[in-house]
Symmetry: C2
Subunit: 337 residues, 2 copies
Amino acid sequence: MVDMTLRDGMHAVDHQFTPQQMTDIASALDDAEMDVVEVSHGDGMGGSSINYGFSAASTGEYLDAVAPELTDTQLSVLLLPGIGTVEELDLAAEKGADICRLATHVTEADVSEEHFEYVTDRGLEADGVLMLGHMAPPETVLEQAELMEEYGADAVYIMDSAGAMLPSDVRDRVGLLSDELSIDVGFHAHNNLGLGIGNTLAALDAGASTVDGCLRGLGAGSGNAQIEVLVGVLEKAGYDVGPEFFGVMDAAEEVLMPMLTEDTMPTLDNDSLMLGYAGVYSSFLRHTRRAGERYDVDPRAILTRLGEMEVVGGQEDLITDVASQLADGRDATADDD
Amino acid sequence: MVDMTLRDGMHAVDHQFTPQQMTDIASALDDAEMDVVEVSHGDGMGGSSINYGFSAASTGEYLDAVAPELTDTQLSVLLLPGIGTVEELDLAAEKGADICRLATHVTEADVSEEHFEYVTDRGLEADGVLMLGHMAPPETVLEQAELMEEYGADAVYIMDSAGAMLPSDVRDRVGLLSDELSIDVGFHAHNNLGLGIGNTLAALDAGASTVDGCLRGLGAGSGNAQIEVLVGVLEKAGYDVGPEFFGVMDAAEEVLMPMLTEDTMPTLDNDSLMLGYAGVYSSFLRHTRRAGERYDVDPRAILTRLGEMEVVGGQEDLITDVASQLADGRDATADDD
C-alpha cells in the first residue's frame, strides 16, 4: 500500500506542505508501518513551476525532510516524462529514494522507455503508471502495460485520474493485466464518483497487489481513496494488510488534520462529480463554464459531450465548437417557445 | 429511488430543517423527478422528544409544507414501532402521505405486524425496513423479511445503519432476498466505510429495485449515499434512472447547500470510521472514550471488541467490563515495562 499524502495530497494544499510537515507525516506513517510513502510535487518531480504551481520547498529539501524518518517504509518519487528530467532522477537516487514511479498518459507508455532504463540503472525500483486509465479499453491498457513491463517495470499501476471508472471498469482492466503480466498490478483511485474505496476494493478483488491512498482522502479534485478507511475495510474483508489500522488513523487525525483548513479538504461537489461523470480533466471546467454562459447552454451538457468525444488536455479549443453545436441543436427543437 | 434528505438528513441538522426549507428542497426534488421523498424526524414520526431531540416543527407542519409541492413524486414517512404511534399514522394518511415505511431492528420484524395492518388499511403503501442489517446473517434477514412480506409489505429495505457492510455483505443479503421474496427489495447505505455508493451499486447489481440516498450525502453519522452522485453513477452504469441528473445536482448545490454550515456536513472521521469498522451504534462512542480513559485502554480496541460481541443499544453496561478485561489482558503481558 502506497500513501500519497505527500504527493497527490500536495494538490489539495496547492503544493504548500513545508518540509517540517512532511517530516511529521512521514514519521507517523513509518510508525504505522505503511509500506511505501510517495513524496513529490503533486505533478511529480520538476512540477514546481509557473505552469503547475510552485511548491513550498524543492524536491531535495522534501526528500531530506522525509528520508531520515523512514525505517521500514520505502520512499517513492513520481516523475512524468516531459515534466521531470534525468537531473531529478539523479537527485532522488542520491537522496535515498527506493522507488521511482514513471507516469504517462494511458496510451503513451512509449515516452517512458529511456526513463525506465535510467531508473533501473541507478538500482531503484521502477514502477509504471498509466494515467487516465478510463480512456482506453482493457486491451489497449494491457498493450501499454506490456510495454512498461518490457522496459523493466517492477509493477504497473492503472490510475483513474478523473475518478471516472465504475467497479466493473476497474475489474475489467485490473483483471486483464493481472492475468497477463508477470509483474505486480496496482490501482490508484479518485473519488469523483464516490467510488474511491469501492473501486480500490474491486481492484484488489480482481488481482491488484498494491493500491494507493491518502490520509483523510486528500488528493487532486475530490481526492484519492481515504487510506485509513481503506486499511480498516481491507482488515474487515480479511486481507493481510501491512499498515497498522489505528496508527494510520492517528496519522490522519492527529498529525495531518491540524495542518489543514476546512477549505483544503476535498469535497464531492457538482464540479468534481461532473468531471468523474464525463471523464475529463479539471482544466476543462473553467472553459466550459465560460462557453456555457456565452452560448446559453448548461456547461454540464458541454462536459458530457466532451467526455463522449474522449477529449484530452490540449483540446480545449473544441469547447466552443461543442457549445455552439448544442446551442444550435436546442434552438432547432425549440420553435414552440 | 428514495431521497432521505428530509428524514435521515434531519440527523445532520439536529432535526432543525424549517418547514420553508422542507418546501424548497421538496420542490427542487419534485422538479428533478425524484421517485419518492421521505419526510419525518430523523428517528421517524414521533421522534421529536427529549430522548431523540426536538425537531423545529411538528410532523403535521412538515407534511403540510411538503405535500403541496409534490406532483409526480411520492411522499413517504418513517415510523419505528415503539417510537411512533397510530396517531402519527392517522396524521400522515390525512396529510397525504403515499407510503409509510415501518422500521424495526433486523431481528424484530414481529413488532411491526399490527402497524402493517394499520398502514395497509388506510390505503397507504406499507414498506418494511430492517435496521442494522449487518447484525444478522443473510438467512435470518430473509426470515425477518418474509415476516414483513406476510404482514403485507410492498417492499423490504435492508438498512446498513452502522455503515458496517462490505459489498460482499450487501450482495449476500440483497441477493438472497431478491431471489426468495416476491416483493421489491431495497437497500439503504451509510458511508462509515466510504462505501455508500459502492454498496448501493452492489445492491442494485444483486437485484435491489429501490435504493435510498441524500442530497450531498447528508444523513446520520458519516451520511448516506450521496444521491446526486448515485444518479450519475447509475446513468453511467446503464441503469434506467428515474430522477433527472442535473436537476438532482441543482437541488443539492443550489437549494440544500446554502442552508448548511461547514460543520453540518457529514465527514468520514476516525469516530465514524470506527463505528463502521466495529459495526456498533454511535451511542457507544462517548461511553467507550470515558472507559478508555479510566482503564488506560485505546477506546478503539473497546469498540472493536464490542463489535465482535455484537452488542446492541441498551447494552452500554458491557463497556466497562470489556475495558477492564482489555486492561487486565494488557497488564498480564506487560510485565517488562
